[in-house]
Every structure is written in structure tokens, then in C-alpha cells.
Amino acid sequence: MIGAAGILLGVAISAAFAFARRLVRGSRELGTDAERATYTTLHLASRAAGHLRGGFDAADAAKAARPLRTLLGCEALAITNGPLVLALDGGDDTVRAEAERLAASAAATTPGRRAQLLRDAIGSGRTHLDAVVAPVTRGGAVTGSVIAFAPRARAGLVRATGEVADWVSAQLELGELDASRTALAELELRALRAQISPHFIYNALNAIASFINTDPAKARELVLEFADFTRYSFRRQGDFTTVAEELRSIHSYLQLERARFGERLAVTLQIAPEVLSTVIPFLSVQPLVENAVRHGLESRETGGRITISADDAGGFAEISVEDDGVGIDPAVVAEVLAGGASEHVGLRNVDARLRQVYGDEYGLIVETNVGSGMLVRMRVPKSQPHHELAMGGVR
């Protein structure tokens, strides 16, 4: 019993000692006054920056206004956008009314104007507040202002407010840069979206033409498959689809190819029903099948077999396309995936999009060698709450 109490006491004492040591060391490590001032300024600025980067609405401005007011050490601080007061930190309704009036006049100022001091902007009753109005510019035009209210504004405050307004402008522009970077990535993704190859359209139409006289029913069926395939592939909206939809399109594609190949093209499917509703990037499996047909089997007299499988693997779906065709040199595949060769564009496209959407570890895995066929695998997480399907049909 006494032993236990002793241990507890010992633990408590060492904890207190460690805490005290940290405290002493901590204050020494904080450094000189100048260092501390630098730290405080940068810390407040970075706190405000996070809110300004996301865009410029009332909620963000309100969160940014507080650290900025502490930074300037003024009575009240308003951030305005055009004639609107987005946020006012500190200050009551009279200050707000004055800020609104100043915002309206600040919006009309020309760019290039520096911060402006207004003595006794608020002069009613007991409070006398000076106002410093500094314009916020965006792309060369004044879009808003930072207004600081202080009982007795000195030149220092005027200069500091001007700097803060410039800094706010810079942060807003950085925010726009972020937004345009995201938009660029999206555009890139869309540009990478596989295109129907002209080659395929030409071959398909020729194959259909050859049946028109001999077997009109079959020709009609093929035209319908062609219509289905093009409707799916030309779809404008949505970057994602389900495994089931993609398989439907592959079915149409293979029907058209089989019209040309006849018995030389055999296809095997092994699909686990659990993965049919898994979300995958639009047209991410069909190009793999097309690659297998065009580069693996087309050049061979005897044709060959394509095996498409989709397996359920815990939280992931594993999709693979395998052919027993001519295969290619692994070195060439590496070059293709690195973006070097102009052949096998389909493979590169799919690989690039998978990496962009899910991250680098989700790229295509290709196993091949000359004369020994080719196996292309992809692995997609089932859980994708942020990827929405485009519902409905053609647009």
C-alpha cells in the first residue's frame, strides 16, 4: 500500500519537474522581443491567410478580420467588398454605418490610391474614432477596402493598414491561383478522356456495309450497337461511370469488332456481381479492350482470346483485361506509360487518368513480353463518396 503511494508520489514529482523545466526552457527559446514580434505578426497573418485563400465571402472575411484587427492593434476593423461590409470586428452599429458609407466611397476610388486617413470619422457622443481606408485591388481594379478605426490614428497605423490591404490583395490573388490550378487539372483530365478512334469508326462502318446485302438483319443489329456505342462514348457530362455501364459499352464495341473478326475473336468474362456498381472513370476499361484487339490480336492470322475480369477484393475492385496475342516489349510499355511513344495512346490515357483521380499508386499494371500476350490490371477503391455519376442518358 505504502509502496504504491510512493510510486504515485514519485511519478507526480517527476511530472511536475518535467513541466517546470519545459516552462523555463520554453520562455528562453521564444527569444528576443523583436523575434517575438516577428513571430506574432507572421502567426496572425498566416491565421488570416487560411480564410482569405478559400475565396471572399462573409463567413471567411469575418474569420480573417479578427486576427487582422489584433495585428493592427486598432479599435475596430472592417473588410468590404464593393459597397458591402463583409465583416466588422469590434465596433457597434454606428461604426458599421460609417463603414458602409466609407465602403461606398472607397469602391469609387481609382486604383493606385494609397491608404487614406479620415480624422474624426465617428464623432458622436463619447467616442471619437479616426478611420483609415486602404483599397484592396484585384487584377488592377479596386474591388474593396480594409478600414481600420482607432481613437487616434498615427502615421504608423496608416502605413500598416496600407500594407495589410496590399497583403489581403495578394492573398486573394493567390486564392484565385489555387482555384485556377484546380480548374486546369480538371480540364486536363477532360482532355485526357479517351476519344473514339477514327480507325475504329472506319472499320466498323465497313464491316456493317459488308452485311447489308448478305444479312440485313445482322446489319441492322450492328448499326444499333454502333449507335449505342457512340452515344455512350460521346457523352458530354460526367467523368465517372459504373463498371456495369462500362461493360455494356464494351459489349457493343466487341459486337462490332466480332463482325469483322468473325470466329477469330473469342471473349471470356469473369465478373463478380459485387463490383458492378463500383464507380470508375468514364471510358477507362474500354480503351484497354480496344488496345488488346488492335495491338494484340489484329495482326495475328489466328486471332485470339480476350479475358475481361472484375474481382471483389475487400474495399477494392480489381479489373483486368488479358489477351493471348503478340504482346510487346516491356521496355516499350515503360516508354508508353512515361508518355514517350505515340502507339498505345489508349493505355497511356487510362494510366494518366487513374493516377490523377486516385493517386500514383493506382496506375495501370502491365505484364507482357514479345509473343506472350498482355495482361493489364487496374485497382479502384470502392468507396468514392466524392465522385458523382452523371445520371440519365445523352445530353
Binding site: L254, Q255, L276, S277, A313, P385, H386, M391
Partner: protein, 491 residues
């Protein structure tokens, strides 16, 4: 009892499970039946699979045992187990399917935009899963011990090892078909004995059984305590929606509507199934009151056919029941191990195939350890406690996350922690406290009635105080959860 029959039926069920798991979908197809392959899982299949996974040792053995022991109080379990799906149908099934999240932690992260809320949810999901596996293994121990005479631990080890190996080797690839098969196996295995026994007992004359024999008024509905009833029903109704393997099955549905249809069919299938354990419980009260001992009551389903049916018929029906019971242990355990291994491998092991295997082995061995060191205190009761824990932790977050835009990550974390601590303390320390303060015994035995409201209250309160941190994307996400999909016209 004939031990050889026990061995044979256990081996057959294990073999059938593994075979369907490995080869169920290895059947090759050619393009001509492409549409068959690309057709999504039909609600009927999926509903059977959900039923197969859901009907555990507690349903197959526990309910009859509880009715034998405590009379009509035991009836609340089948009612609660089934009605839990009604809650799921009304509040959760379709929105969750539309969310695109695959597991509960995925949903929490997408809804609350918080990694820490996700981690806490994962931990709770794993704990719930492990403690749900323990009664399955205890049921296996009981079954093996009674039917073959081997020591009890053999049964637990056998189920854990079979499931661990099959799941780790990728044998649950076609899990939907395995589980659907298990459902129909269980239904047949419990319905056939009931029909045979009823025929034998009544000899064709429906009046030969006097209800008063089986159910004296002292154990009728009159004897039920209001608090016990409410608390048990709260746990069972709300606990179902947080079970880790349930959400995964809804993901197999192509859309929210199919998720609803599936749940509706599940309700029908479960209602049908639960008729039979109840009848066995009643027959047990009338004809085998000597089994009514807390150690053996759970074996009533296994013992009754042998007693009531003569010779060969009795042996054959007993073998069928053993097969059904093993189906129950294997299916529930493997369903849980698959979903838990998915969560663990994603959370800790980077989501690799190897990580999934390691996690699958761990998920079979940890509960095995618990099952070996603890003694079963009634299968239905232990599963009831797991439901109470789920209802106090995951259910508030899930329900509020779907239906209340004000939920924040801090609120969810505070609510889950409160629920977990209170309910966990009641379960762990309850028996000890109940000994010294008998007045608190019932309150601690069935904690859901007070832990669930407290967890919900804390979640709401903390979220309201933290109003500024409502996630930005919440309106968009909620719209997605609740707006029905437009019918797909791309055909």
C-alpha cells in the same frame, strides 16, 4: 447422439461454403451472355445474402434457448432483430447507398470532413465486429461439444481457422452467393425439424397441444418489466443499422431504390425464419423442460429433434440442424471478418492485398482469444449487448449524419466517446456493481435505454455549440443522399 453424423454435417457445410466461395463465379461466360454478366445483383439475391449474414448463432440457437429459459421475454429478440431492418429501411438504406461510401468510416469522413472522426469510427466498428464474432465462436463450441463430445474449444478454433483461411485466401470473392446459400440452408435446417416434430407431436390432430402447458401465465407477456422491454427494443432496433457488415451489402445494390426493395425482402425473409426458433422454444417448454439450464438451454434446437423423433429420422434431422447451426457460425463470422479486414487494412495497412490477408487472420484470432477465455452467458444476451453498444455509438452519428445538417465532427466524436464509455462501462463493470447494488442490476444489464439518449444528447449539444464548424459541403452531400436517382435511360 450419433457423433459421426455431427462430423459429417459440419464437414459438408464447411466444404460447401469454401467451394461456393472459391468457384461460385469462376464460371466463364462468352459475349453472348454478356448481359447476364453485367446485370447487377438482383434484390432477391442480395436480400438472401443479407439474411444469411445476419442470422447468427444468436438467432439460430439463442432465441429458442431464451424462450425455454425465460418465456415470453425471449420473444422480444426476434421482434427486435427483424424490426431493426424496418428502421434501416425507413431511415438509412437508400441515403447510404446514394452516398457512394463503402464503409461506415468512409461515410463519416465524407460527411464530416474529419480524419479523427473517421479514426474513432473505425476503432468502434472494429470493436463491435470483434465482440459480435465472439458469441458465434461460443455457439460453435457448444454445438461441437454437444453433438460430437469433443472439448468445447475445438468448435471455436475450427470456425475461426476455417473462416480465417478461407477469407485470407480470397475465398469470399463471391460472398453474395455464399451468404445467399447460407440463408436458405439455415431456413431449411430449422423449418424441416419443426414440421417433423409438429407432425410427430400432434399426430395430425391440431388440438393435441395445450398452450397452457408451454406457456403458463407467470411467464406470459404480463410478466414483462417495462424498462427491460424498452431498453432491449431500443438496443435491437437501433443497433442493426450500425453493424459493419450490413452497409457493405447495400453497396451491392445498383441504386437507392434497389436498396429499399432489398430491405423490404429482408424483412419478409427474417419474419419467416423467426417463426421457427420461436416454435422450437415453445415445444421445448412443453416437452424438454429439463434442458432449461443456463449452460445447455442454447442447445435446445440441437437436442429437441433427437428426443422427439424416432431412430433414423431423428438422426437425419439432427444432422440437418447441425449443418444449419454451422452455417450460421460460418456465414456471420466470415461476413464480419471480410468487412473488418477491409476496414483494418485500409486504415492501418495501406489497403494492399497482403494487408487484407494479415487483417483477416487477425480478425479471426483476436475474437478466438476472447471466446476461449470467457464463458458464454447465453448467446442471445451477448449479441444483445453488442447491439446496445452499436446503438449507443454508431447509430446516433449515422442517423444524425443523414438527417441533420448541423452535425459537426466534434459533436460526433463527443457523442461516440460518451456512448462508448457509458455503454462499455455498463457492460464490463455491470455484473460487479449489480452484485453489490441490486437496484441497479437491470439498468446496467440493459443499458441502451439511457446510453442511447445520452449519446444523442451529447452529439446534438456539442454540435450546436460548435455551429461554426458545420462542414462546407454539407448541403451538397445531403442533397445527394436524399434526392432519388433519375431513372437511367442509357440503354
Amino acid at each position: 447422439m450419433n457423433a459421426a453424423l455431427g462430423y459429417v454435417s459440419i464437414a459438408l457445410v464447411a466444404l460447401a461454403t469454401a467451394l461456393i466461395g472459391f468457384y461460385g463465379l469462376r464460371v466463364s461466360r462468352t459475349t453472348s451472355d454478356f448481359y447476364v454478366a453485367s446485370r447487377t445483383v438482383r434484390p432477391w439475391w442480395n436480400a438472401s445474402a443479407i439474411g444469411g449474414e445476419y442470422l447468427s448463432a444468436a438467432s439460430f440457437l439463442g432465441i429458442a434457448g431464451l424462450i425455454l429459459l425465460s418465456g415470453s421475454g425471449g420473444l422480444l429478440f426476434p421482434i427486435g432483430y427483424t424490426a431493426g431492418y424496418l428502421m434501416l429501411l425507413l431511415f438509412v438504406a437508400a441515403p447510404l447507398r446514394r452516398s457512394g461510401a463503402y464503409t461506415i468510416p468512409d461515410f463519416v469522413e465524407a460527411r464530416l470532413e474529419s480524419r479523427s472522426a473517421r479514426r474513432l469510427t473505425s476503432v468502434i466498428v472494429i470493436v463491435v465486429g470483434w465482440f459480435y464474432i465472439v458469441p458465434q465462436l461460443q455457439g460453435a463450441a457448444l454445438t461441437v461439444n454437444i453433438t460430437t463430445g469433443l472439448p468445447p474449444w475445438v468448435g471455436s478454433v475450427a470456425v475461426a481457422v476455417i473462416v480465417g483461411i478461407v477469407v485470407a485466401a480470397g475465398g469470399m470473392r463471391s460472398i453474395t452467393f455464399v451468404q445467399a446459400f447460407q440463408f436458405w440452408l439455415k431456413l431449411v435446417a430449422i423449418a424441416v425439424p419443426v414440421v417433423f416434430i409438429l407432425l410427430a407431436v400432434t399426430d395430425g390432430a391440431p388440438t393435441a397441444l395445450d398452450a397452457g402447458d408451454a406457456f403458463p401465465a407467470s411467464v406470459g407477456p404480463e410478466s414483462l418489466d417495462v424498462y427491460r422491454t424498452v431498453s432491449l427494443l431500443v438496443a435491437l432496433l437501433l443497433g442493426t443499422m450500425g453493424l459493419p457488415h450490413v452497409l457493405v451489402r447495400f453497396y451491392t445494390n445498383p441504386d437507392g431504390d434497389a436498396a429499399r426493395t432489398t430491405t423490404l425482402i429482408v424483412l419478409g425473409l427474417l419474419s419467416l425464419f423467426y417463426l421457427f426458433p420461436v416454435i422450437i422454444g415453445l415445444l421445448g417448454r412443453a416437452f424438454a423442460p429439463d434442458i432449461a439450464d443456463s449452460g445447455t438451454a442454447d442447445a435446445l434446437v440441437l437436442l429437441l429433434p433427437g428426443r422427439m423423433l424416432p431412430g433414423l429420422v431423428g438422426d437425419a434431422v439432427t444432422a440437418l440442424v447441425i449443418a444449419g447451426a454451422f452455417g450460421a457460425f460460418l456465414s456471420t463470422t466470415s461476413g464480419l471478418v471480410v468487412s473488418l479486414a477491409g476496414v483494418i487494412s485500409q486504415e492501418l495497412l495501406g489497403g494492399s492485398v497482403r494487408g487484407f490477408r494479415i487483417a483477416a487472420i487477425a480478425c479471426s484470432l483476436v475474437p478466438l482469444g476472447f471466446a476461449l477465455v470467457t464463458a458464454s452467458s447465453g448467446l442471445a444476451g451477448s449479441v444483445g449487448l453488442v447491439f446496445a453498444f452499436t446503438a449507443s455509438t454508431l447509430c446516433p452519428v449515422l442517423l444524425l449524419g443523414i438527417w441533420w445538417r448541423g452535425l459537426t465532427a466534434r459533436g460526433a466524436i463527443a457523442g461516440m466517446t460518451t456512448g462508448a464509455l457509458l455503454c462499455g462501462a455498463a457492460i464490463l463493470a455491470g455484473p460487479a456493481i449489480g452484485q453489490s447494488v441490486p437496484a441497479l442490476r437491470t439498468v446496467l444489464e440493459l443499458p441502451a435505454a439511457w446510453t442511447v439518449p445520452l449519446a444523442v444528447g451529447v452529439t446534438v449539444l456539442v454540435s450546436l455549440l460548435d455551429r461554426r464548424r458545420v462542414p462546407r459541403g454539407v448541403d451538397h452531400l445531403l442533397a445527394r443522399l436524399h434526392v432519388p436517382e433519375r431513372p437511367s435511360t442509357a440503354r
